[in-house]
Symmetry: C2
Subunit: 147 residues, 2 copies
């Protein structure tokens, strides 16, 4: 990934995550996320309502079918200035207290990016990890507007 | 759908559309769209690049599997003010010159909402129609912030 794409993916505040059931029924939701340069992490809080996070459709879908799609984009009324990064990856549910400290590290990343998480108990909840990322960016370097 | 949800869906400038292949591989992209109170229409232009619209993944997916998911949302750093409308529907590819004038009517709706389309030849291209909409809104009426 080039530095410009990495900066864009790291800095954007919201992404849209699509999962699909085994019967190929997709569902897309907005998510907050953190990117560590290799993987994407998304906490399982349900904003604004609270619910059992394990019953969320995206969790059930990921457990049945780990193929996911994520898009990070910035809309502009100047359609020559539209940017989007499309990411395909493999998702899993990461549990608190995993042996490698990965969950804790992801909680730190999320709280660094979103101050809102500092008062939420995301450290005691499962989260989504997306790895094996295949990343495409529009416009690509050659087509990028000169600004 | 209540009036507030209808106003929100009609007025937002961008939605995110998830389709899935028959092998349950999802893909999500940002789209511009128009809503006529019953169906959603989205032109097949590829912003910012141009390509053969029939080779777009979303088109191939819809032709194999018409189940789609759409989310229309507004991000806010105040997480008590987040709004999103989740729509499940059945998609089809609507061809120019369909007998009922539906394609022409959708082109008019799109051009009324997006002035950008007035100089683009969307009338000669297929578009996506999404019908049989099942709509859920967060927060629901009872949970809506009092503002």
């Amino acid at each position: 990934m080039d530095a410009r794409t990495q900066t864009f993916v790291t800095g954007q505040r919201v992404a849209h995550l699509a999962t699909a059931s085994l019967t190929a029924r997709p569902v897309v939701v907005p998510i907050c996320y953190a990117f560590d340069g290799e993987n994407i992490y998304s906490a399982l809080d349900e904003k604004p309502k609270s619910t059992d996070v394990r019953s969320l459709k995206r969790v059930l879908n990921i457990q049945a079918n780990p193929q996911v799609s994520l898009v990070i984009d910035e809309y502009s009324e100047d359609w020559t200035a539209l940017i989007y990064v499309l990411i395909a990856g493999i998702a899993e549910i990461l549990e608190p207290g995993d042996g490698r400290g990965e969950h804790l590290r992801a909680v730190s990343l999320l709280r660094e990016k979103y101050t809102q998480y500092r008062s939420m108990a995301i450290e005691s909840r499962p989260m989504i990890k997306i790895s094996s990322l295949e990343i495409k960016r529009w416009p690509s370097g050659a087509e990028a507007p000169a600004k």
